[in-house]
Symmetry: D2
Subunit: 485 residues, 4 copies
């Protein structure tokens, strides 16, 4: 398995095709726009070699029995899901934020593992075998694999073919003997700069006439005709400055727009190619584990917020006991998303392909918590930390070091520690709650409204009504005409 050094080298060898602020990024490992994200991902490799984290971050290949990164493994049972949730919590603990260049890809492998198995079984295709071959090789190469689902979509009230431009969702524009040509964009894709390859999946279910949109494949990040534009993030220009205003060195998010300008994908890397009937299934297979495991993510960042808030309390001269109720509430929030992730993971089912698929209902309940509880956790962190952290309300690092008045600023920032330390804590909390460290926990992995639809569909109203009727000794049958709207 790779070291973090080898990981970075693998990135440096790739063709530059990532831009930000109109500039081509030549070396993603050193450019300020991408290096923090890569440092975060590099910590995965560092941690995997530490005794205390090895069991969480690595597992054995079910192909070979050899140790592999858990991010390249097939989830085979409740223990694997528990480890998955813990892994996500750990990586937020270590980086303070998202290492999104791996978990989407990890989920995509597993979702398509089940999906290709089904397609092959019913359609006589060979996708599952291809996926096996590619995956075994990917494990050997120990690649970092991003995942891409979200299409540009255009007008949300229209289907892909109704849009003013058919490219608004990624589509096959040509099928050749040796592969396909795809055009379109995948947008808001996490951690691409830190990845060697990208696993592409449909972002939604498609109908027969939309079958060209039902496509899944894996490509090198630097494949020909793929152009990647990094999006802005809160406070991203701070990362180009010296000093501690960008609070965290070894952690950061990137999210990109991937522009597919007629990219060729060879056959052995294609896992769905027009089988529209499986596109929604693929998405659902993706959602269940993803929405379970993200409970670990926000819990992991919540741990850091607990620590940062308690640290600021101490910096202000106050025992964290003063804020006992608030820290308890933060902990309740953290453990709720973590626990619900565990529960969803454990109460799953084994798919015939060998993949363990978490409980859909509990996963989606967790998604709703993930989209709400962290907002409260952040609010409480700001409440404990005071006005200085709420909006990062303190002078810049540059000002703190100004020869004319820097000393005065440090004097007035000091409390139960030096002014500089207090400034660093404030910047960390700003970064976590209203800065570059804020992950997109609301819409990442899909919106809470989408989750609520799944929850609602999971309610067994007829069963619950029978429970009520039996208890109240009601025999009358009550029907409601469903009126045509």
């Amino acid at each position: 398995m790779k070291t973090s050094k080898e990981y970075k080298e693998s990135l440096r060898k790739m063709r530059p095709n990532i831009y930000k602020f109109s500039e081509l990024i030549k070396d993603v490992t050193t450019h300020p726009a991408t290096k923090r994200s890569i440092e975060g991902h590099a910590q995965i490799f560092d941690a995997a070699q530490k005794t205390e984290f090895k069991e969480i971050l690595t597992t054995n290949s079910h192909f070979t029995g050899q140790p592999i990164s858990r991010y390249l493994s097939i989830v085979q049972g409740p223990e694997d899901m528990i480890a998955n949730v813990r892994m996500k919590r750990l990586m937020f603990n270590l980086t303070g934020t998202c290492t999104g260049g791996r978990c989407v890809g990890f989920n995509a492998i597993n979702a398509m593992w089940a999906t290709t198995y089904e397609i092959d079984k019913e359609m006589g295709t060979k996708y599952h075998q291809r996926l096996q071959t590619w995956l075994q090789d990917a494990q050997k190469r120990d690649i970092t694999l991003a995942g891409a689902l979200t299409d540009a979509k255009g007008d949300r009230s229209k289907s892909p073919l109704q849009q003013c431009d058919p490219d608004l969702s990624l589509r096959i524009i040509e099928k050749r003997n040796d592969g396909i040509i795809v055009r379109g964009a995948k947008v808001m894709i996490c951690g691409v700069a830190a990845a060697n390859e990208i696993f592409v999946m449909p972002g939604t279910g498609y109908k027969e006439e939309e079958k060209d949109y039902a496509v899944s494949f894996v490509i090198p990040r630097d494949i020909e005709h793929l152009t990647i534009i990094e999006t802005r993030r809160p406070n991203d220009t701070r990362e180009q400055e010296e000093g501690f205003d960008a609070a965290v060195e070894r952690g950061g998010i990137t999210q990109s727009y991937l522009l597919f300008e007629d990219v060729f994908v060879p056959n052995d890397r294609i896992f769905m190619c027009g089988e529209y009937a499986y596109s929604l299934k693929a998405v659902m297979n993706f959602i269940a584990p993803y929405r379970a495991a993200i409970g670990g993510c926000v819990a992991g960042q919540g741990d850091v917020m607990v620590g940062a808030a308690a640290l600021m309390a101490r910096a202000n001269g106050l025992s964290e006991k003063v804020f006992r109720d608030k820290l308890t509430q933060m902990t309740i929030n953290n453990e709720t998303t973590f626990g619900m992730g565990i529960a969803a993971g454990v109460l799953g089912t084994k798919h015939p392909s060998g993949v363990w698929i978490p409980n859909t209902l509990l996963s989606n309940v967790n998604k709703v918590h993930v989209a709400t509880l962290p907002y409260e956790t952040k609010r409480i962190a700001q409440e404990i930390a005071g006005g200085i952290a709420e909006t990062g309300c303190l002078p810049s690092c540059k000002d703190l070091n100004d020869p004319r008045y820097g000393k005065l600023l440090k004097k007035y920032l000091q409390a139960n520690c030096s002014g500089e330390t207090r400034a660093k804590i404030a910047r960390l909390i700003e970064w976590l709650t209203i800065g570059s460290g804020v992950p997109g926990c609301m819409h990442g992995g899909g919106s809470p409204d989408g989750a609520k639809l799944v929850i609602n569909a999971s309610i067994d109203i007829a069963h619950d009504i029978e429970l009520a009727k039996r208890l109240a000794n009601i025999t009358e049958d009550i029907k409601v005409e469903t009126k045509k709207k």
Copy 2:
């Protein structure tokens, strides 16, 4: 294993020692004050014989391998805890309320299983062997076992010996060669009328000088010198009436005050007798599984509320789709307490005695949810069901059958079903949300403030602070003087 008929017979054979409204209850299985609770417990026996519920309600004795009631089993691993949570959800589904005459006893066995193992190991006593012997016999007899922890306590700012009366917590007043004499009261004890025996445990931790309060034992419910007074519950006198104003026939709660007027307990039924150092441990061993599993209880009642609310919507002529968001929120609440119970159960540890002890932190987080989320679920049920159900705002069953105006009332109560059916649904929702079916989910199994203390004690502040310091690159050590108060 017993049938429900045999179960009721076993109760009828016991000495009457239960009172309500100043009246001695001669036959608990037919008296209106207790029969609904017993019918609820009888459903456990009925369901255990049904194929679809057998696996949840029964297991195999680890002594003999023979099938036994799960309520008399030792919890040995995550699967047993999952089944425990499911069992509680199921019984609320079937009875609409609490069958508290079994789960406290079940938990007490397990808590004392671990505790007696530890006492024996360190003190050379024989409690664990006694417990094994008794339990094996209890399994054979298939008894219904209530549990009793809560003492009268008196002034909450004082310890037992500081009270105006030393009896305010249950205590040993005499040790004899063949047993002990105990005096005091256990209060607000659930389901005693439905039980054959009662497992008594300390309600809190005690110090050396309070060692006479550190006592645990099991007694027949009808033991000499034990007097039991049933408490009032909301709308309890309705249960003495004819008709459907008491909405549910086969389900109900009782809670009692147990007055120990110098009760003699023989040695072979004593499991702690002065070993004060283990009293708090015993309580903690009780709390972890209890606060995990009650997530199933409130989820189970929540299912019924979902059904009842949807049924009222239909009765009013409306599709439940009108209330989709509300039903979804009820479901989120249900699945959250259920899921957290599962997670706490799964992430436990194996005690050397063989008992599986759930995760304390997650259990206590769940206790907080159990003390809050069902209130919202009830509120939403009332919101969907309308004013008629909010405070049970409809004429009595007697009035609905009045020869003068009963027909008119039924006419004006009808909607998309008969007036009588609509009345029954309203009464069910009243019963569930502001009537006899409301379980004490706030303080049952201890208060949420107690749970928050445990949560707070579980926060590893030092670890979280280190995470934050490492991320923000802070090396300064920040200490807060802990001032003497």
Copy 3:
């Protein structure tokens, strides 16, 4: 103005036409089913004569300048609305619950004051003059006036004429020269037993073909062919017992079904008779002040809950400081509904008829708070008070006085006060939170979903969008086709 003695006498003189449990109530002032409600209303008369409350409970007639009950006055400006909100808070303070036999009538007078003014102006009718004449006389007689809006309604998906029975909403079945005959029912009507007269209004807006439902009038409570059935309330049979299990002597709710079996109403008491176009307006005129002022109600009961919870804390030997955060949250809830009521009252507009109409948007926002915040307040009261109060988990008053074991029960109930006092506090909290004292704050005055519709209709989306466009310097016009569903 009447004394409470005269008030009760006026009730005793009326024809008995109220039933509960199939029994005709001969004297509402002494019958256990109604006397607590009447005692509550009697406190209005007592308080009106006390210096500290006079200004709140009385005002001067705008007809004569003479002192009158505020409940019979026309609200003419912000000060009157402030006094209205305060009056409701005061009466909950004094009775612990709702004195609903007056406020609905009070609101109805004011709503119809504006509505009759408009009808007359546009239709040339004489309703406003009739209302003036009746009201001036009512002030002189100092009557207690209930109000009735809610119809039986039947299937909520159908209009009155689509129902299986046209009587499911109250309607005119015959117009005569000297008056009208009405048939139907008004349901869940508050405080009728405590009233001398009843003001009837439409419960919703009607269309032309439904004009027979657009009817408003005032009648004596004991008018011929009106039969009144009292509904059950939680724990209502306790009120027939001796002792303190029914916690409050001088306060209580009644809610009734009014059965109009072809009641004749003479012309001079009719204020709307087929003018369907004004029926919705009448309802809206009712809603605005009503939903403002009920903020005072729940704040007033909240005050009592703060007191009762703090008292139980003390009874348990604890300073209320232990529960500081909880009492603060209860207070925030109380002051929020109170304050929003004040704000809605103050930011109103003067109707040409002279009535001051509160702010519709703020009134309806307050209705949503009133339907949610008191649930939290009750939950916190139960949390502070402990398991004994949560579901009233203590033996009955009768048991506490049992010669065999009553002394023991009192011994074990004592804490930092006698057992009996502690029992009374627990019963009070049960009464307030899960007993007879719980007012229907969710649906009383209409449902929160109805309020949300009004709120939504009040949002000036176009204006808010313009604010956003101007700020973001957007000139493109963005239109959404409203598709036919």
Copy 4:
């Protein structure tokens, strides 16, 4: 009264003493670090000349009867407070954010108006006369007046004299015949760059030995020996770029650290000078109106969020009706803080000095809402707007205009409007919810915990307990010993 042009000229004439990023800002009206804030404040002058806003933004001087800016007026009754709340809402509507260079000064004038009146009356000083003289002149000059309360404070567990440095709160270091010399810092001071003068007040109450900290005065912003350092804000460097990534041109916040390096203040500008006994009173006089009126601020920004979210819904091709419940909840939040501000303002009392002081309890309840509800409003805005707005997840304006791939980005950003318009809306929502437009509503005007202390102190526990005792017919006196801690 000034025009916005004259206002900006007045700023340009001042001595440059403001720094950011180590750079002296020569012209605050054009420098990117300050110009947006100044444009926001300039809108006050523009709007004051529009008919529809004049009544809100101006009033008549109670000295002269001449029209003046409301920000320089004495609040004399409920109407003035209502106008104050409306004014704050309006200015957030127009600027999208805080115009904090005026409201703190406005409040400070009023707080010190009452305080100086009291000091003079009891101590025989002349502060009130000085304040009158200065204010009348300030009205004439139509100045923009910032306010400064918050001291650096240092270790929060220590008093000013216990700190390692006595300067950590602003203090008098020398009293001269003609004035005083002050040293220290006021920190996190809003809108100073946009102000002509700064009104300084104590940030907390002081004891006798701390009397040198009890000081209040007003100074020109560019007074000798005052150095001002602007703090960083989220995304502040975007304001130095071209294009729309800094979403709003005419609105912005600045917050500064004011370093008083031995500043001389002449006598006629001093309003408190050692009268420690009035320092807490002054703060309380400040808090009541401030915490009432900020309800208008967050409501005003909430209006913009409603508009921006609805606009994004349309941009995405969806009717805002899809998000009806969410927009309704945002509105409830907006109207709650607005309404509570109105209620607090109206239920105030007239101070003998002529100032109207809002209701302390309701003001502080509102502060708690202001510190919580806007967080939910922001969360909902992000929920409606989707992932693109949640963390501003779209490429930079520069990238959108890149000659190589800009067109493609715009193509993929388009939906029911052009890609550029959609980008602008996303940036606006980012700015409002996680960017430069986020005001410090949690800690601005003091922390919610401080507000809760005031609320708690306002609870009349004794009165509420009496209400409960009276209702439950309890005569026993229950006392709790207050133990020495």
